[in-house]
């Protein structure tokens, strides 16, 4: 049976005029009833259905798990249709994997690196021994494909590929000239391409072809190094005076594209420094962002009294630059600030200050002039404090990014003082959020000139250059995605460095990344450990069974003010919730082949149009099993459908592993710092790889397996947010 596309399929309707093909974007699944995969719904399909009458699997046309009269009805509804009247929308660009599923389908590559495509014979109507022509085409929207189906390869010539025996592993093809594809997207970090396998070799996107990017998104993004300066020259105004700002805190620095006069209005970025820091310490970030098309200010920040005053200066300066644009810098930016697209970046107390500022507007306790809540598209806190707690420092539904250095000697993550728990802020966010936990970075590595507060193992310091490269890359990624909708940047937020690393970030730098989509959008949550406190029932109401040991579902909070492991403190190392917060997680450990199994209720069992299964997971710091493991931890995810088909995908095969905690000492005995969570994201298509036959329309259970052949022999995990998500 033909697979069901993850993304809306392209329906090709033959036009009345012979030879012309019109491509339309549609969510219609036109192959319903093509049981035997011969691309026509006919007697052969009827026969196949009847041969399985009363059973399940092949012939289950409507996907309800049973082959009965309703399937017969569905088949006859499509009787006689040709289902080959479409190019197939399917992921082609991939990263090679050394084991099954042999390919990790992705979209974004750093310019200069090799690009691979893969075709899975089990999921794609190809014939072994046949040759097709592979095209790399400048990205087109669905409408543009409709208007123009002619294939023009940007490399100058298409690439013939021949399909062979051996499954997907044998049908991976290096893209000729892939490392030479241009990433020049103007002000976009990446340039988009669509990938087409022209099966009939007619030079057009037509019946039976494969396309990655036939919708409005490119199939392949070639990204320039986001740590490198953008294409624009930058003008810096070393300081100007903001009218209306608190006395003593009126100065700000301004960066803007030198040719801003010829540009459309640009998003505004406001940088808010920390206590004991200066507004002049963020040149690296201001000039970087301006070179990519932003108008950036960094302002004096009233941080000594506290967070409220810090938020006030950020609010004041944001209003001031909007109001004073006609006069600042001689009017060079007059009319060029897009005040509906604003980002705030805050460091340390400033990092909490921007969240407080957002919260004040949200709570209607502060009414800014010149902008409003909906104009704040992105908040980025670098190593923020948490003085105020959930009631006053809450990013609510804002798009929120957290950067944190694991060697921070100031906002250190000590379990003795929740003010130093930066991740509290991220956990409160109910918007799109992502975090980057940077091993070897200290508090002041994110500015030019602060004191050396590094606390960590000798030889692990990445210093300013290393930390600032991370900041430049990931803040730019956040800006481009949240302010300008550049989807190519999203993969930077979750893919491991082993497959997508900004060139300027050292390969030796460990980055632990989380991404959590906006809760109400594109998510089917299996368990977030919030709404059901029993370890036997998931958030979605399904039964949870397990063989793992020492299960604890509780607040994400270390309760004994030391990182020394204690069974009385099962969430040792979790510093993501103050006593007033509500974020909960689960923790458990293992020493043999064990698992935790979540029933997926029917209400959310249809995930054929979802893209991933995500889980946030980290190792329990200083736990004896973690100490014994002494390395990254691996596990497998098993999906089971209603027919009992089970498919297992290993995190290791995907190049994904749960990082060993940063080996920092202090705050008790042992080695390891706070629990580092990362999002492990497995593509659902990988569970179909090789023709497993699993029915993604009826997933009955999800199981995480550890030990044995499924993953690390021992360990302790902290988990949260097991859910299906969309790309």
């Amino acid at each position: 049976m033909r697979y069901r596309p993850f993304r809306p399929v392209l329906v090709v309707a033959l036009a009345a005029i012979a030879g012309s093909v019109m491509v339309q974007s549609s969510a219609q699944a036109v192959c319903t009833g093509d049981i035997n995969g011969d691309f026509i719904i006919d007697a052969a399909d009827l026969s196949a259905l009847l041969s399985n009458w009363g059973g399940s699997g092949a012939g289950d046309v409507n996907g309800d798990g049973f082959i009965d009269g309703s399937d017969l009805t569905a088949l006859f509804a499509h009787w006689g249709e040709l289902c080959t009247q479409q190019p197939t929308e399917i992921g082609l660009a991939c990263v090679r994997l050394t084991a099954a599923p042999y390919a990790s389908f992705v979209h974004t590559f750093i310019a200069g690196t090799a690009v691979t495509i893969a075709v899975d014979p089990a999921l794609t109507p190809i014939q072994v021994g046949s040759t097709a022509n592979f095209f790399v085409v400048a990205a087109r929207s669905a409408a543009e494909w409709t208007a123009n189906d002619l294939l023009t390869d940007v490399r100058g010539a298409f690439q013939p590929i021949t399909f062979v025996e051996g499954g997907i592993a044998a049908n991976r093809f290096d893209v000729t000239g892939g490392s030479s594809l241009s990433g020049d997207g103007g002000l976009s970090v990446a340039r988009g391409y669509d990938l087409v396998v022209d099966m009939d070799r007619n030079g057009r996107l037509s019946i039976g072809d494969l396309i990655d990017g036939g919708d409005d998104h490119a199939g392949l993004w070639i990204a320039r190094d986001p740590t490198a300066a953008g294409p624009l020259a930058v003008t810096t105004l070393s300081s100007y005076t903001a009218t209306g700002a608190t006395a003593g805190f009126t100065l700000a620095r301004l960066w803007y594209p030198t040719n801003v006069a010829s540009m459309t209005p640009r998003p505004l970025v406001v940088i808010s420094h920390g206590n004991g820091h200066q507004y002049t310490w963020y040149d690296y970030l201001g000039s970087h962002l301006a070179s990519w098309g932003y108008i950036v200010i960094s302002h004096q920040n009233n941080t000594v009294p506290g967070i409220e005053t810090s938020s006030t200066t950020t609010l004041q300066h944001t209003s001031a630059i909007i109001a004073q644009q006609a006069t600042v810098a001689g009017g060079a930016i007059n009319g060029k600030i897009d005040s509906t697209h604003i980002a705030w970046i805050g460091h340390s107390r400033g990092g909490e200050g921007i969240v407080r500022g957002y919260d004040r507007i949200f709570d209607a306790s502060y009414a800014p002039t010149g902008f409003g809540l909906s104009d704040l598209k992105f908040l980025c806190s670098i190593s923020p404090t948490d003085f105020l707690g959930v009631g006053s420092a809450n990013p609510h539904a804002a798009n929120f990014m957290l950067l944190w250095g694991a060697a921070d000697g100031d906002v250190s993550g000590t379990p003795t003082n929740s003010v130093a728990w930066s991740f509290d802020l991220a956990e409160r966010s109910i918007g799109f959020r992502n975090t980057v936990y940077v091993h070897g970075a200290d508090h002041n590595d994110f500015n030019c000139c602060g004191t050396n507060d590094f606390v960590g193992p000798a030889g692990t310091a990445i210093l300013n250059a290393g930390a600032q490269a991370v900041a430049k890359a990931f803040i730019l990624a956040g800006m481009k995605y949240h302010l300008e909708g550049e989807t190519a940047m999203k993969e930077f937020m979750w893919r491991p460095s082993s497959t997508l690393r900004p060139t300027g970030v050292a390969a030796t730098t460990t980055l632990v990344k989380e991404v959590v989509p906006r809760a109400s959008v594109d998510v089917k949550t299996i368990d977030n450990f919030q709404t059901q406190t029993s370890t036997n029932i998931s958030s979605c109401g399904g039964t949870v069974t397990s063989t793992v040991a020492n299960i604890s579902e509780a607040l994400e909070r270390d309760t004994d003010a030391t990182y020394t492991w204690s069974t009385a403190n099962p969430h040792n190392g979790s510093i993501r919730a103050t006593a007033s917060d509500t974020g909960r997680m689960i923790a458990w450990d293992w020493n043999s082949a064990q698992n935790m199994d979540w029933e997926v209720p029917v209400a959310i069992s249809d995930v054929h149009n979802m893209d991933f299964i995500d889980v946030r997971v980290g190792q329990g710091t200083r736990h004896p099993n973690t100490v014994t493991l002494a390395g990254d931890a691996t596990f497998s995810v098993v999906l089971r459908d209603a027919s009992g088909v089970e498919v297992r995908v290993s995190s290791l095969a995907q190049g994904e592993a749960v990082n060993r905690p940063y080996q920092r000492t202090g705050d008790g005995t042992g080695t390891g710092w706070q629990n580092e969570l990362r999002t492990i994201r497995l593509r659902l298509r990988d569970f179909q790889s090789g023709g497993t036959g699993i029915n993604l329309g009826q997933i009955a259970a999800v199981r995480i397996e550890v030990g044995g052949t499924s993953g690390s022999a021992t360990g302790r995990f902290i988990l949260d947010d097991l859910q299906f998500t969309k790309e």
């Binding site: 608190t246 006395a247 003593g248 805190f249 100065l251 920390g274 206590n275 004991g276 820091h277 200066q278 507004y279 002049t280 004096q300 920040n301 009233n302 000594v304 009294p305 506290g306 967070i307 409220e308 005053t309 340390s348 107390r349 190593s383 404090t385 003085f387 000697g409 100031d410 906002v411 003082n417 003010v419 130093a420 200290d442 508090h443 002041n444 590595d445 030019c448 000139c449 602060g450 004191t451 050396n452 507060d453 590094f454 310091a461 210093l463 300013n464």
Partner: protein
Amino acid sequence: MSSGNIQMESQFMTLTRLNQFGIASMIACSIAATSTIALAQAASPAVNAPAVNTPGSALPALPVTPSINTVPTIISLQPVTIKESYATDFRSEHSQVSSGWLMVIRGGAAVLAPRALAEPLLLASGTTASGSVWTESIEWFNHGFVSGYRVCFIPCTVPQQSGADRTAQGLRVWFGSPKLPESVDAKTLQSELEQADRVGIVAANAVKVEGSASKALANRDELVTAANALIARWAPDESQAGESTVPAVPANK
């Protein structure tokens, strides 16, 4: 060092404070200073500045405060009046301020070091002529980590002018518990005062009051300007308020 016979008169002065309903209430504080005492004369930074912190060194651990070991030395005091009052950010009540002491203190690196986490409150207390004790949260304009000198402002009563050389008697200045100044209220101040008493923090031996009259300022902008002048003199590595607090040479770069 020099000494002399100083007489300073005290007075009450009212500070307008907004309560939680935004209604002005009044607080009073003053410094009694009438006796003859030894003066601590302000020396120039070049002579007197301790090597508080060497650029490149790590953030020193926060000492326990309050403690007699962390009591700063008062280097100078300048009474000021501010015509256009302002709401201080160093009290949760945002008390209205129209006068006070512009002050320079010298302290150790550990208490002066800038930190993201809570820093020790800087507090002042004195006794009015009528014998009542007042306590206030001191504003500060720089951290003084490198120079060892911090420029501050005690929002409080200023003494009536008398003579060219005056001394504030009974003034206590100390580092209190680590807290955000914006969270400080009357209850906090009372608690801090009790702690200071418990650990034995006493009034400075002698405090020289600079100038023959209160410095008359129009508004807080002028207060910041005056503070900047002191920063330029005592902590030249920190050239202005709000720009302060760290080694002039990048530490770990």
